[in-house]
Symmetry: C2
Subunit: 230 residues, 2 copies
């Protein structure tokens, strides 16, 4: 036995319609709501019995977007400016030997729908449609280490941009998506600290396309378009 | 794409030679030392660059012992006396659709050996020889939730037995394994709260066989044998 074959048990759906802009770790954008819908063979309400007694869950999911790329021993974490090389096992990079992501999310509720019983969660910074391999309860006495030392991740814990957006542009976005979009922008979606203050970036979330530029640590929104309108 | 094929990247080796007695969660027995040895295709020192800057790691591993068993929607957590049925996704039970375990461990050091560069970790409550699929750094700002509510796991956070062992029996065990063995016994290795005070259980760890009985919340060690002696 040299391999293990994983089955897709569920898929996650949310407003992250494109890869660009998705925060690089779970929980950075707390207000993003996702729905976990189980695949046909795993639509079994019993398997979710009492899960609502847990506030947080682990998701094991497929870095499906990177499926055909080879793993590399060293990666360049975007938070380090894309210059420093770090061992892949010292990062959460998708380019690993086994492309499995690990994210903790907040469980909002379990809900009966015509698609079976689904889970509604907050803070999953995962592309919509991504396959899920496992869901586990977060168990504080084994999973929570407030004293952990976290290498380069410690240095960037408080990193964020100041976001400037006019009232007029903000009002194009529906109320319950405004904060999520601001949080995504705060987290600096640019690839590897590109530093051209004249470059205009575009990011999609929940049916909106946001155009912005970044100078020093200030991100200015230049345009918002509702791209779902016919 | 309905499946993902995982490759074994490493195996973990330690004193847990038998399944019986292994604590049911990582970190319950903190002093157990394990060595993670990489498989031939993954013996690559670059992949571990800077990992020593993290104090804790996640291991994704194979519940290889349960490989041929079917998953069941409901399981009976041993901590609940084996009577109450809970959904498998509300537990860390091995009998899941994809038999992957998730454990956080403390990284002690990275070491060059004739077997390649290995990782020495503490607190992995995993059977010796178990295949590892992934190693990730523990990142506090996304993984640590001190406010998490953890269902039935909260109720049993402080559960432990009082262990009674005579000086004479304790001294049969080599010094650096005494505390680990006491910690394992404190965690009540009996299956599902069996409650027969006359039943003698046997548990193996690190070359010792420990015989004990349990009455109410007191575990008394009756015999210790060094089973590695010729």
């Amino acid at each position: 036995m040299d391999t293990l074959n994983l089955k897709i048990i569920a898929r996650i759906y949310n407003d992250y319609s494109h890869k660009f802009g998705i925060p690089r770790q779970s929980g950075l954008v707390n207000e993003n709501i996702s729905t976990i819908v189980f695949e046909k063979d795993f639509k079994n309400e019993d398997a979710l019995r009492d899960i609502e007694n847990f506030s947080h869950l682990w998701l094991l999911w497929h870095f499906s977007d990177n499926d055909n790329k080879e793993w590399t021993p060293c990666v360049r974490p975007p938070r380090l400016g894309g210059n420093k090389r770090i061992g892949v096992f010292a990062t959460r990079s998708p380019f690993r030997p086994n492309p499995i992501g690990l994210s903790s999310v907040k469980l909002i509720k379990k809900e009966k729908t015509k698609n079976g019983t689904v889970l509604i969660v907050k803070g999953a910074d995962i592309l919509s449609g991504t396959p899920i391999f496992d869901i586990k309860p977060y168990i504080k006495y084994t999973d929570c280490h407030p004293d952990a030392v976290c290498g380069f991740a410690d240095d960037f814990q408080d990193y964020s941009l100041t976001v400037e957006i006019s009232e007029e542009l903000l009002n194009i976005i529906q109320k319950d998506k405004q904060q999520v979009i601001i949080d995504i922008l705060k987290n600096d979606p640019r690839p590897s600290y590109q530093n051209d203050p004249n470059r205009i970036y575009g990011m999609c979330y929940g049916g909106y396309e946001i155009k912005f530029l970044v100078e020093n640590s200030v991100l200015t929104v230049k345009n918002v378009a509702n791209i779902t309108k016919p």
